[in-house]
Amino acid sequence: MATATVQPVERTNYINAKYGPWSWLTTTDHKRIALLYLLSVTFFFFIGGFFALLIRLELLTPQGDLVQADTYNKLFTMHGMVMVFFFLIPVVPAVLGNFLVPIMIGAKDLAFPRINLLSWYLYIIAGLLITHCMLTGGVDTGWTFYTPFSTAFTNTKIIEAGLAAFVAGFSSIFTGLNFIVTIHRMRAPGMTWSRLPLFIWAHYATSIIQILGTPVVAITIILVAAERLFHLGIFDPKLGGDPLLFQHLFWFYSHPAVYIMILPSMGIISEIIACFSRKRIFGYNFVALSSIAIAVLGFLVWAHHMFVAGISLYAALIFSFLTYFVGVPSAIKVFNWTATLYKGSIRYDAPMLYAFGFLGLFTIGGLTGLFLASLGINVHVTDTYFVVAHFHYIMVGGVLMAYLGGIHFWWPKISGRMYPEGWARLSALVVFIGFNLTFFPQFILGYVGMPRRYYQYPPEFQVLNILSTAGSTVLGIGYLLPMTYLLWSMRYGKPAPDNPWNAAGLEWKISSPPTTFNFEEEPVVTWEAYNYEEIDAPHKEEDPSPGS
């Protein structure tokens, strides 16, 4: 462990192995592809965030005075599309997952490196499509594309936006396919399923959803496009079709898609909490299997988005009932993370602060999910700001907190530099405060009845909206900070040792940054996951680490 602290001048690593843009654009190295993804998802995050800021500014006053109604509708649609399809879904799997999945299981690369590169190119093609769509007018249906508005009424660029989502979907499918095969077939000798880091379990569960859910939304998009072009009538009640069929097909993917976003983040949190409590995760088996349980149960609850849409009473009862089953594995995770802290040896480095922030926001987001799953409450709060607040707590509070925590945690490994700890702690705090200030008032706003997707609203809702807008500026600063100092650290940061956190896991046994093929020789795993007892044992201090 201690041997790695002295850095030779410039070791060969995956970043400096080759030079020039062409070497990046044709790379099949999973770590380089992860960096390509890092750049592109960050770009789309700030595009989506810019839209969000405009939305919040417009809602400062009850009248619509900053932008026109049409523009506002396009803003929230593009915000949703960009954030969901181009940021939240790829962000953790395609950046951190891509970088870490092969290393964590002791492989030299993903099973299909070229399909991995292809998936990035698909993402870029989809990104260009959506950018072109935004620049030439955008879409005004909301990211949900509800029919018959999207098929027979709006005259905005549905087909182009749908195509972008379609292509981005295949990018996501290929990532999931690659992960599943890699996790099944490429594990190093001794890396049994019960020794896998929980990050890997989470990605495995995510990949299942990606490969089984995404094609359904793909076919739905094809039907919407065909309906728009040829007036087929499949979703048009005037032609004998059923608009609710669209909602069923759409949510069959888009509900599990929420778990595509949150599951990998849960994997990050398990890694961080274990490392900074110096403990094996409490109830490893339960945390691992709860990921799979969420992935499976997530497919059975889609119609809870449709309780007031006109589905039958009995369907609503069944879907509400099943929804509570998804609550259980999520609760198990939170309880186990909390229990892991018990009798730990806890450090408050920035990643851990982000993990604490995640626990706070995810708990609130998860518990408000109970409100929405309850039929009686759902009727009142669905399609209001209550829903907006709920899913932002999960998808932004949860996912972004975990993602930032993960980026900080693995930044030494990715970039070979340390980030500035003080700034990082500050930004964790700013994000947490800004987030709550932005979204907590929206719960109240929703319960008092402000519907979502309103660009003007009755004046009594103004104060809460001002609070929310004020919070969003704080949040914006909180997100800009890490980008700034992480960029700064790439040049000026302290060179990182191989294992700055003294953490368990194969990724910390190789150099920072890793070489192109990760491992000098195939590792043989002889220890359990999160073996912090052995790592911290005083008598072993002088020994070389078990793997190297």
């Binding site: 490196p113 396919l177 490969i211 094609p215 039907l223 009538g233």
Partner: protein, 233 residues
């Protein structure tokens, strides 16, 4: 899928990619990857089958009436063509495993020919739909077609249009898969002719075969669902 075909890294076995430890690992990975891809495809068509079933239950009469407008003989011929092509694919895989080059090339050529046969027959059927104005859209016509088994009841053209919409989307996507499959097999033929496949290394051929069988199986479901709803005249 395509990942294991070209290679520049290892000298001793040209087919083994650098990040795999053994050939077996590489072969197993490719095969698992293909199966997962097929699972994705099942869900892709699954959404369509789901839409089909919902409307078929809702508008059974119209679906039966519209189904009778299809020529089940052409559909049946196509079914036989595809089953034969599956046989030739199996022969190709069998041949390569035993190093029978002539049989391999012959089977691949036959597969491609049968694939084109299928598309040709499909084209004839599509042309007929155009002539009879059964293509959904502005020119769609389905007036005064009786619902089988319900004397005097005429099919609602809108509902028949939904049938034909699903017919075109489902068979169209299936045909697109056939075209991709034929493209893949042309490449396989080229590679086989260059002698790239050996009894030890033939993973692309196996993968191509899996894909081809999957596309066949989709048709095996499409044929009765679309052509054989109600043949009572």
């Amino acid at each position: 899928m395509a990942g294991q075909t070209v290679n520049t890294h290892e000298a001793h076995n040209p087919a083994l990619l650098h990040h795999f430890a053994t050939e077996e690992q590489q072969r197993n990975s490719a095969s698992l990857g293909m199966w997962i891809f097929l699972a994705t495809e099942v869900m892709f068509f699954g959404g369509l089958f789901c839409a089909y079933l919902i409307y078929r239950l809702k508008y059974f009469g119209e679906f039966a009436a519209a189904s009778q407008q299809l020529d089940w003989k052409l559909g049946g011929t196509n079914t036989i063509v595809l089953i034969c092509s599956s046989l030739t694919v199996v022969l190709a895989v069998w041949a390569v495993q035993r190093g029978k080059r002539a049989l391999l090339l012959g089977s691949l050529v036959l597969t491609i020919i049968l694939g084109f046969c299928f598309l040709g027959i499909k084209g004839v059927e599509y042309a007929e739909k155009f002539e009879k104005h059964h293509v959904p859209g502005a020119s769609f016509q389905f007036e005064n077609v009786p619902v089988p088994g319900h004397p005097g009841l005429m099919a609602n053209p809108y509902h028949a249009q939904i049938y034909f919409s699903l017919y075109f989307v489902m068979t169209g996507l299936h045909a697109l898969h056939m075209i991709i499959g034929i493209g893949f097999f042309v490449w396989l033929l080229y590679a086989a002719w260059r002698g790239r496949f050996t009894p030890e290394y033939n993973t692309p051929l196996e993968m191509g075969g899996l894909y081809w069988h999957f596309v066949d199986i989709v048709w095996i479901y499409l044929f009765p669902l679309l052509y054989l709803i109600d043949l009572r005249k």
